[in-house]
Symmetry: C2
Subunit: 363 residues, 2 copies
């Protein structure tokens, strides 16, 4: 199999130039001559890695002053707990959650341990094929916060509009579509995203947090679950995943220097999605896309073929052709094409042509 044809749902492929730099760094960083794996997290070298990564993310995502940028561990799963510990526990309000897929359904389970939790919309009865339209959401202006997941990796549905009420803190898990397009960070109180889709390797989780929201956090909390710990320690309270953060920095450089920013990234992502959905939509009885059309994700394309035998044949011949990562998530089966930032337009075109050919032979 080949890196440039890796369409994995995550951890996702990384850009070729990032892999080359990361490979060199494993044996000897240009700056120090030492392996990145043996660099102290208290070194001035690593402080500059953290600082540059933050600067690059602030520039790329347009993160305003008044927001903290943190690098943590534990993925969204740990954020599912850290969020309500800080902002629901003891506050006397209700936290609201939109459940739009396999992933977002997990978040309120953790919140219930900390306080009143209300699911304001649940896509399960419709197999998570669609998302709420604005008029369907009956939100409370008194909620502790509204939580949603901007892109559902498993089912392939993605919000195109930002939900929420102006005066309710908005919290979003952007793990699977962060940095895929320009973003209005000022609309959010808290954003988090694990790196292993669009930002880097597994092991580091980005948190973007409004300072005035942080002031409301409950106390005391376990140190590692208290956002203040990481703000005060500037992301080195304990040893962070040095290598994962270094690669995240390389990805931010790639986004800036090779892609040219998030508007250019978004244009590429739209073109990739058009190629893939175009190939699938040409044969809708053969390629059965899970998501309803208005809610389709540009990052994850979940679909099924007419029967399990054809799906097995698909995976087998795809692997022979060098394609990787096309299995659907175990919760819904079928197939999935993930088009994260590092997947090139060329790779999407190659796969689209191969899809068409596969249908011609097996349709």
């Amino acid at each position: 199999m080949r890196n440039e044809l890796n369409f994995s749902g995550g951890p996702g492929a990384l850009p070729e130039s990032v892999l080359r730099h990361a490979q060199q760094a494993v044996v000897a960083l240009p700056e120090t001559g030492l392996s990145v794996l043996g660099m102290s997290h208290r070194s001035s070298w690593f402080r500059e890695v953290l600082d540059e990564t933050e600067r690059n993310l602030r520039a790329l995502l347009g993160i305003p002053d008044g927001y903290h940028v943190l690098f943590t561990q534990g993925g969204s799963s740990l954020q599912f707990s850290a969020l309500p510990m800080s902002f629901l526990r003891g506050c006397g309000r209700t936290a609201e959650y939109i459940v739009s897929g396999y992933w977002s359904a997990k978040a309120p389970q953790e919140a219930r341990l900390e306080g009143d939790t209300r699911i304001v919309w649940d896509g399960a009865p419709q197999q998570y094929r669609r998302l709420p339209d604005a008029g369907e959401l009956h939100l409370s202006p008194d909620a502790a916060y509204l939580h949603y997941v901007s892109n559902e990796t498993v089912e392939g549905v993605e919000f195109s509009e930002t939900p929420g009420l102006p005066d309710v803190p908005l919290v979003c898990d952007m793990s699977s579509n962060i940095a895929s397009a320009p973003l209005d960070v000022s609309r959010y109180h808290l954003i988090y995203a694990h790196a292993q889709k669009n930002l880097g390797p597994a092991g580091v989780t980005l948190v973007i947090l409004r300072d005035d929201f942080l002031q409301r956090a409950a106390s005391p909390l376990p140190a590692m679950l208290d956002y203040r710990t990481h703000v005060q320690a500037r992301s080195v309270y304990n040893t962070p995943p040095v290598f994962a953060i270094y690669v995240l920095m390389l990805v931010t450089r790639w986004l800036r220097d090779e892609i040219g920013g998030l508007a250019a990234m978004a244009a590429l992502n739209r073109a990739k999605a058009q190629l893939i959905y175009g190939a699938l939509d040409a044969h809708p009885d053969f390629f059965r896309v899970h998501a309803l059309r208005p809610y389709r994700s540009a990052m994850n394309v979940a679909f099924q073929l007419p029967d399990a035998a054809t799906e097995a044949q698909f995976l087998h011949t795809a692997a022979e052709a060098g394609f990787a990562g096309l299995e659907g998530h175990r919760s819904i089966g079928g197939l999935r094409i993930s088009l994260y930032n590092a997947v090139t337009l060329q790779a999407a075109a190659t796969l689209a042509a191969w899809l068409t050919e596969f249908q011609r032979r097996h349709g």
Copy 2:
């Protein structure tokens, strides 16, 4: 600076052969042709990485049946909270903590959030230069557990005897000396260790946990802080740090195949420590070792020179000679030589000779 002369306190140096394999894997794993950074944690390839790592650790450390082996995130700092959440919260007993250094002093701070906590010995009044002798510990047979840190990275003191009472669950943070010597796991109910000293890169934390202890854990807990979550999901509840675990596997292979197991590793570590302490002890007025002699660590040698100017000169000329990572921890200053598993006997000999020469010139 040179990897083979990296004496960092952590993240520590890794063996040369491990770095070579890791470097190749960043671009293309021999088994899959894909970058390790883009491999799915649900792939059969990664399942085998987890399984082999566990098998190798069980063989190396002699982990008996009835113990779980888990790979988690968040380092010891998150374990400081996970431990009392599971085994102190609501149990009506008191957790006992030995405070023997900078690091172990942090653990009871987290335990106090969950229940009664008692510090059974505190080395702070003696600047953490020594450890408790067996007769000094007045332990309760009714404690929820006894927690200690087997090696203090900052001050360079290391337990040579295992403390505790037979009927009280013993919990140990072995982050900075795990796998440095053979171990009787059966003496413990719970062992944890972050990887970045003796086992691999930063980002993964090993947990070894007795099953009958796990049965007593409090419930419900936040999913990521509940050991049952990781047992049931076999360490893939959410996306684990794939690369860090892969490198950990490479380190276990190196320990088995190149070193020949933990008895051989211990002999090498003793020889390394003898070389370094020997060079320092030859000039005790110049090289002032922090730890009292019976408590000295084989992993971390903390010491001071007569004045700050000489220490600055030391670091400057050491860096020019290719040595890295010799700064003392910011909490006590001075200098530190860390002799983790991957530091070779040759490197220790080179540094010992350089220490002697430095003393000759500046003493």
